[in-house]
């Protein structure tokens, strides 16, 4: 794809992935805090709406009265849970080959450009601790190149990780069950929103006017 400035495009897209990852990480915490005191005060649907409309700014959820602190999210304050953030970023990064399907007319991102974005994301903080995430960049690139169906973005790896590495969250509590329940919906829908955001960014950095229809 012809970018006005390819480096800016790579940095911008990698920043979007990083910000999205951070936002998802914080959104999980905010919604988890909901179960502390506001289970019947805050509508989870409103929380999702706010989160999906502000995928760079999870703090928008504060307007719902949600707070992230050691009282409401004490179970998420350990070191082991902190590793979730690079994992989230990594989980998004390995799916970057799907950006190849974003077309501006007949122009699309090359594998080399996508790889540069992936490397930039990994260098900024993505990591796959203990091989928690089974998918890989190469695997997705292959599937996209072959046009095969892609696996959906789910919270399976997240649940596996906290079951095995974050004992406070692995306990059978009301809050933890709530976490496992909303995580499935949150991950899938958040990734869909982030993907839309990435498409917009690509068009933004594209040299060609994007008045033509875009195909994915």
């Amino acid at each position: 794809m012809d970018f006005i400035n390819e480096n800016d495009a790579v940095n911008g897209l990698s920043d979007t992935v990083i910000k999205g990852g951070v936002c998802l990480y914080n959104t999980i915490k905010y919604i988890y805090s909901l179960a502390e005191n506001d289970f019947y005060n805050v509508n989870i649907k409103d929380a999702f709406k706010v989160a999906f409309n502000n995928i760079y700014n999870a703090d928008s959820l504060k307007v719902l009265g949600l707070r992230i602190d050691n009282t409401t999210c004490a179970e998420m304050s350990g070191k082991s849970y902190n590793a979730v953030l690079p994992l989230i970023i990594y989980s998004i990064a390995v799916r970057l080959p799907t950006l190849r399907n974003v077309r501006n007319g007949d122009d699309r991102m090359t594998d080399d450009q996508i790889l540069k974005v992936y490397n930039a994301v990994i260098s900024k903080g993505g990591a796959n601790y203990n091989d928690t995430i089974k998918e890989s960049f190469q695997e997705f690139r292959y599937l996209v190149r072959k046009g095969k169906p892609l696996p959906p973005y789910t919270a399976e790896w997240y649940k596996t990780y906290i079951y095995t590495n974050v004992p406070p969250l692995a306990e059978m509590t009301n809050k933890n069950m709530f976490l496992l329940g909303f995580a499935d919906v949150l991950f899938a829908m958040f990734y869909a929103c982030l993907e839309e955001e990435l498409k917009g960014k690509i068009m933004e950095y594209s040299a060609r006017a994007y008045s033509e229809p875009i195909e994915i």
């Binding site: 005060n41 805050v42 706010v50 307007v63 009265g65």
Partner: protein, 665 residues
């Protein structure tokens, strides 16, 4: 009369004053227009600039704070965003959208203004706040309705404290029933709690000086106290006793020390402090305390607004200034003064009239004459006599008039014409019917027709008419006699009656001066002839039985004279019209001579008297009669037998005029 009470908020250490009575009136009459306009202007400015103008918002909040002390007290807490709430309500109402849509519009806020809207609506959505502006408006309506329900009254029917208490209880109970049916428990609805200052929540901070002193003394006992864990309401007693265990060995200071500790500066402003947990609780508290303190609110009879009743001024007028620069009370006092002046003037006038009447009566009694009284019937039902009947009566009148001296004497004609006049008046007044009137006309017509025929035939004229009257007398029951024509026939012209009702039944259309000022306790029957007996004789051209013009004009509504529509009678006790040079035919002259001859013989009305100056009057003193019949008999009695009891006669004497010439035996 006002009394102040003090209230505090749970999260505030300050005391706030509540003026009983005045506060609720101020709140219900508060005009929120300025606040509304200020908020809208702030919203429009924020829409353009992207941020809310702080000064305008602060100004709006200060305006809202003036509506009620509770709003003022909560201005930094629950009513902090009242101006923003007003803007939100305005946007929703003007754009016809709901809060959800406005929230969705602002979900990705682009400026501070949208961020403010989004944050505030999110607070609504999550139950952390409600629209305080809408709350104020609804509370305003609640207070007004409750005020109307409890204190609505009229100047005629003013409320007692008991009425107010019962109304208030009924209203509050209705609210409780509705709340219960809505599923709200007592904890869900706002109430006010009463405390003494030492037991207030947070009293340790509100009475800080004494508390510090206490803490210093108790510091040994309060060391190493574990922080409270349970905030469950069920465990309140247990928590309290846990706390009590730390002051179990508290030593009592001396009374002097206590007095020093609780110096005036360290005391609360009142022995009783209230803690409302909502605006409604505050309003209800004021209503309740007003009842307890015997503070009454009532509606002003002039301006219709509520005011606190002054126990020293027991009239329903407020002290609000009106546009004229005077208070309703001042206006009322002016009215009272004016009424007193008018009453005094009326009393003076009545006294003067009474004195004049007494002087006149004294003069008359000195002259050996009794003073008649002008009477007038009160109850007049205006029945219109059809024109053809009027014309017929006029024709009969003219026919009989032409036959004066031939078929009847002048005196008989005069009696007949007076009877006709009275009959007509009674019909107009509704005391007799048109059918009776026509019956009389038939009789009269038959009278002169038969007279003409008899005259032609050369024998008695009124055979048929005599038979009519005799038959009438025979067939009518005694109960009917006073009310129908036959009574008047029995009684004669001078005893024609009119019905007088008591003054309270007089309608507005009735001039007061025409009212019959007799005993107004019951319906009376008064001989109408007595009314007119005196009036006329000093007026040239009038009969002694008819009123003078002025009196006739005065009594026109209730008793129009026959002579208004009939040719003016020519006979007179004074100067004869003939002497005034009017042309007069032979027939007329003979009639005048006949009438004058009759007039010279005796006063026209039985019982009337003739004065030296030619005035004819009948002494009249209003009396009560059980029936027209009694009145008639009373009129028939000789004056010297007034004291004798009235007895029902065995036989009724027929009036003289029934025996017309030729038929008289």
């Amino acid at each position: 009369m006002t009394r102040n009470v003090w209230f505090v908020l749970e999260k505030d250490n300050r005391y706030y004053k509540l003026e009983l009575g005045r506060t609720i009136l101020n709140f219900t009459e508060f005009d929120f227009a300025l606040f509304w306009e200020t908020c809208i202007s702030a919203g429009k400015s924020a829409y353009k600039t992207g941020s809310l103008p702080t000064d305008v918002m602060t100004s709006a909040r200060n305006i809202a704070a003036g509506c009620h002390p509770y709003v003022s007290a909560c201005l930094n807490s629950s009513f902090d965003s009242v101006a923003l709430d007003c803007i939100i309500a305005y946007i929703c109402s003007s754009e016809h959208i709901g809060l959800e849509e406005l929230w969705a519009r602002c979900i990705s806020p682009k400026n501070n203004y949208e961020q403010s809207l989004f944050r505030r609506i999110s607070e609504y959505k999550t139950g952390r706040a409600s629209n305080s502006w809408v709350n104020i408006v609804r509370m305003h309506e609640y207070a007004k309705n409750k005020l109307d329900f409890v204190y609505d009254s009229t100047p005629e029917k003013r409320l007692s404290e008991r009425d107010v208490e019962l109304r208030r209880r009924y209203f509050d109970l209705a609210f409780s029933v509705a709340a219960n049916e809505s599923g709200y428990s007592g904890d869900d609805l706002p109430y006010s709690r009463r405390y003494s200052p030492s037991l207030l929540p947070g009293a340790a901070f509100r009475m800080g000086a004494v508390s510090k002193d206490l803490y210093r003394k108790m510091s040994d006992m309060l060391e190493d106290i574990p922080q409270a864990r349970s905030h469950n309401g069920i465990l309140r007693d247990q928590n309290a006793m846990d706390v009590y265990s730390y002051i179990k060995k508290l030593e009592r200071p001396t009374d002097g020390e206590l007095r020093a500790m609780f110096a005036p500066a360290g005391l609360a402003p009142s022995e009783t402090v209230y803690v409302p947990d909502g605006f409604k609780g505050m309003i209800d508290l004021e209503f309740e305390l007003m009842s307890d303190e015997h503070i009454m609110i009532e509606r002003c009879a002039t301006c219709g607004r509520y005011f606190v009743r002054d126990p020293e001024y027991n009239r329903p007028y407020c002290t609000r200034m009106s546009a004229g620069g005077k208070t309703c009370r001042e206006k009322d006092e002016e009215n009272l003064r004016h009424q007193e002046q008018m009453a005094a003037m009326a009393a003076e006038k009545a006294a003067a009239e009474k004195a004049a009447a007494e002087r006149s009566a004294a003069d008359r009694s000195a002259a050996g004459k009794a003073s008649p009284e002008q009477t007038a019937p009160d109850d007049v039902r205006h029945v219109t006599i059809p024109s053809q009947i009027e014309k017929r009566a006029q024709r009969i009148y003219s026919a009989l008039y032409r036959r004066i001296g031939k078929l009847m004497t002048g005196g008989e004609f005069r009696e007949w014409s007076q009877y006709l006049s009275n009959f007509k008046r009674n019909v107009r007044n509704g005391d007799q019917t048109l059918a009776e009137y026509e019956e009389f006309l038939d009789y009269s017509e038959n009278l002169y027709d038969s007279n003409v025929e008899n005259a032609r035939a050369g024998y008695s004229t009124s055979r048929g008419s005599s038979e009519f009257v005799v038959n009438k007398l025979a067939t009518s029951s005694e109960e009917e006699k006073p009310a129908n024509m036959l009574d008047m026939l029995k009684k004669g012209v001078d005893s024609t009656t009119v019905r007088v009702k008591k003054l309270s039944e007089v309608s507005y259309s009735y001039p007061a001066e025409k009212s019959f000022d007799l005993d107004d306790t019951r319906t009376e029957n008064v001989p109408v002839q007595k009314t007119y007996a005196t009036v006329s004789s000093n007026a040239p051209g009038k009969t002694s039985g008819e009123p003078a013009f002025a009196e006739r004009e005065q009594s026109h509504d209730y008793a129009s004279s026959v002579s208004e529509s009939y040719p003016e009678p020519l006979y007179s006790s004074g100067a004869a019209p003939a002497s005034e040079g009017a042309p007069m035919g032979s027939e007329t002259k003979s009639a005048v001579n006949a009438v004058n001859a009759v007039n010279e013989e005796q006063p026209s009305v039985p019982g009337s008297q003739k004065t030296e100056d030619g005035r004819v009057f009948k002494p009249f003193a209003p009396k009560k009669y059980a029936s027209v019949y009694e009145a008639m008999m009373d009129a028939k009695k000789p004056e010297d037998s007034e004291e004798k009891p009235v007895e029902k006669p065995q036989r009724i004497r027929k009036p003289d005029w029934e025996y017309l010439s030729g038929s008289r035996k």
